[in-house]
Amino acid sequence: MAPAKSSLSIILTLLLLSAGCLSDTLDDGAVTSTEEVSGNLVIWSTYETDSKEEEAFLDSVSAWQKLHPEVELEVTSKPFYQAVQAYKIAALGGEAPDLMRFSNDQLGSIAPVRDRGNPLLEDLRPWLTPAQRSVWDPIALESMRYDDALMAIPVSQDCVSLFFNRALFDEAGINYPDENWTTADFLSAAQEMTFGEQVGLSIPTKDPFRWFSLNSGYGGSLFTASGEANLDGNGSADALRFWLDLELKHEIVPTGTNVETMKQQFLSGKAAMIIDGPWHWPTYTAARLDVGQALLPIVEETGLRMSPMVGYKGWAVSKQSPNKETAISMALYLSSTEVVKNAALETMTMPVLINLYDDPDIHSDVALRGFIAQARIGFPAPTSKGMSAIYDILPTAIENSYIGEMSTQAALTAANQQLKEEMQ
């Protein structure tokens, strides 16, 4: 028994001692990254699965791979709306991808996160020369910044505009929307085309993103010039009332429409107009819909044009990546003129490269030209914690106004107060 007991105590002692020593190289963690374009590169994209955008992206990745066969690539698709959560969890577990695509409001949610004092994303300011940076639209570049740091390399921009079904307009004998259209024209056309199973307009009324454009048409803004919350500012309450009335009073929008049902109604030819972005354009044209695109109308009461919020997307590099040089090389390739132009022509992804704004090939595409025209009268989405919080807070105000629990003014004032608290 005695030898058995002493063996047990030796094993126990060894186990106890080894418990704290199972992880290596943890002392200071300072590791120098390599500068060679080599090694493994893990990329998480957030394109819609099996979409034309994803196809174009994968083609670009393959083309880069041919140039750099020594690099081992692992490309994974993540749902766009879960991108932030997926990245945070992976990064906090030390498993962040080297490169990931984010929108600027997503950057506003990830940038403040600190793990033992370290950010999760690399500040790309030192990586690029001023000449390299000058190729991008300064607004797009600015939208990739959080505080002072540059969190991603911009690659595209998008915003909503008015889509219409030409066939339904022809049937109703109504002229297509043009740049002089007002909200009164818009409303009257939608009412005229609402009968039976057909609706004049399909929009997700509880989706703040599309409401932002009407809000700006009424003179409202999400933040003041100094960055303070301004949800209940000038005209916002009227904008929200008009927006909800499209469904509740005028009944030209089907009850409970969300983004997916809006898409289905338009695809099935049941909706004459929708407010949507270029990311869905290839889907509509592939369905052989005779779809048209127009600028969002001018608000009758104010004379201001509805101006959509322009979101920007870019490629961010993980702070943990040991292959930053390779990751940045890939990001620069994905935002190069050739790749971006190709994506623009194939998938309607709007470029942020200055030299492509006036590119003749891009200008020859009527829809793409229309989207760019719409984006140019939009306002840039702020990259801030406040902007991320708006998507959680505004739905509460919209819901309260929708069910009549609060007036639109009271609901937006309460939302503004909440936003102020969260921004603190």
């Binding site: 126990l12 106890l16 199972l22 996160v113 793990d115 739905p395």
Partner: protein, 473 residues
């Protein structure tokens, strides 16, 4: 920190010096002295034979241009009119173009931290001085950035491994001691059989709970992970004083009790029906098992689609009702869907228990002329109790913590309260928002501990009250 200095090169009007480490990662600090420059011109930096950046030199005042703070711009530049004794940040126009202003013909010093410089190999640097029309002077050399990239340390798993190791060793030691103490018993090997399961339970269940409890007394937040500080009972005060705590607690209890009552009631009734001699019993049983056989998230999404204003239910009713728009309607919907999901499990479990009741008892009762109702009350139900009581307890705990049905069906909405739980949020779905949407990890841990204590208290009271353990023996 290594400092890499290139030799100073004098030209007729241009002296350049570079420092490879002063400016930081991927940067090189280049200092240029320009003698007796007058008029307007520009200083251009070229790296790898490619234009890098330029500083426009202007005799005059900055006017309305701004002088950014250090670090605010990407590549910082400074200027000095007294040979580098006093440096002032360089002004920028609205496009970020750097402008150096000077007042009279004198030595002008310009210093820039050039970005995008290679660390692995030397790059060519060319500094060129232009007046308005021509190149006045040029300096060529090579530069390299020497400051290393500091990668964040990998996740520090040492405390966790140490804690788990200590727990494991303590348990092993405890079991070793018990085994030694029990050495004369015939059952001493029993402890060895129990050990692996007990170890797994401690490491996978008890340890995370204990860690969560520790976290609940800290100010852990996603913006300061790893730098948590003890904040006493602050998180618990926040939980109990937070708006909506009692509302969400009330709905959690309504949700749990309603679901468990219907699960056991309908499951039990169906099990008894299927116990009878019914034609096509197998088909019924298979059909009733379907909700359990289909992955729950698929079922929930199907229900969500069916209850949509344009979904099947509305099509059949000829209405356009939004079943999830009002709080009461949405709460009813989530409960209905969860009842549908939970019944098959209870039915199967109770069905198994029913089959274990000896048929002789029923037959003897029948011979004695006992009615069906009396047999149910005095034979079936008492004999089912040892199965149903723990089942109901398990169902209670599962339902109390049922996350996916509410998350997928309503995501806690309709959201009518600012900064508070939504209309169909239960405690567990709200904790998710606190932790992963708001990033308040310490507060979320406190909410979790409150849930844990509630469940512990209920389980204890229920077990004691129903004498479930005794009944099962």
């Amino acid at each position: 920190m290594a400092v890499f200095l290139l030799p100073v090169v004098s030209a007729q009007s241009l002296d350049v010096q570079s420092d490879s480490s002063a400016a930081g990662f991927k940067r090189v600090r280049v200092s240029v002295e320009i003698d007796s420059f007058s008029g307007n011109g520009s200083l251009e930096f070229h790296v790898r034979e490619t234009f890098h950046s330029a500083v426009i030199i202007i005799q005059g005042q900055a006017g309305e241009m701004s002088q950014p703070l250090v670090g605010e711009w990407y590549d910082d530049c400074w200027t000095s009119n007294n040979s580098g004794l006093n440096w002032t940040g360089i002004h920028r126009d609205e496009n970020g173009q750097a402008h150096a202003f000077y007042s009279s013909s004198q030595t002008l010093s310009i210093r820039c931290d050039l970005t995008g410089i290679s660390q692995s190999k030397e790059d060519n640097l060319s500094v060129r001085l232009f007046d308005e029309n021509r190149e006045l002077d040029r300096f060529d050399s090579s530069i390299i950035a020497l400051t290393a990239d500091i990668l964040p340390p990998p996740p520090d798993s040492r405390p966790v491994i140490f804690a788990i190791g200590s727990i494991a060793l303590t348990i092993i030691a405890l079991f070793g001691y018990l085994r030694w103490k029990d050495r004369k018993s015939m059952n001493r090997h029993g402890l060895a059989f129990v050990l692996p399961a007990f170890l797994a339970l401690v490491l996978l269940s008890f340890y995370p709970v204990a860690y969560g409890m520790v976290l609940s007394f800290t100010d852990a937040h996603e913006e300061s992970i790893g730098d948590e500080e003890f904040n006493g009972l602050e998180n618990y005060l926040d939980v109990f004083t937070s708006g909506g705590f009692f509302r969400v607690l009330f709905f959690t209890l309504v949700w749990t009790f309603t679901n468990v009552i219907f699960h056991v009631g309908i499951g039990g009734a169906l099990a008894m029906l299927l116990q009878q001699k019914v034609r096509g019993k197998l088909a019924y049983r298979t059909l009733l098992l379907l909700p359990w056989a289909i992955p729950s998230y698929i079922s929930v999404l199907v229900w969500k689609g069916m209850f949509h204003p344009e979904g099947l239910v509305n099509v059949l009713l000829g209405t356009e009702t939004d079943f999830f728009s009002g709080v009461t309607e949405a709460q009813t919907m989530v409960i209905l869907v969860n009842i549908w999901l939970g019944v098959p499990f209870m039915m199967m479990s109770i069905s198994g228990a029913l089959q274990s009741i000896p048929e002789d008892l029923h037959e003897a009762a029948k011979v004695e002329g006992v009615s069906d109702w009396a047999r149910l009350r005095h034979i079936t139900i008492p004999l089912l109790k040892p199965t149903v009581v723990p089942l109901a307890l398990m169902g209670f705990i599962w339902t109390f913590n049922m996350f996916n049905v509410i998350f997928l069906l309503t995501n806690g909405g309709p959201q009518l309260w600012f900064g508070e739980p939504g209309g169909t949020d239960i405690l567990i779905t709200y904790v998710y928002d606190v932790a992963f949407v708001k990033g308040e990890l310490g507060l979320a841990a406190a909410w979790s501990v409150v849930i844990f204590i509630m469940l512990m208290a209920f389980s204890w009271a229920y077990t004691k009250g129903s004498k479930a353990t005794e009944a099962a023996v």
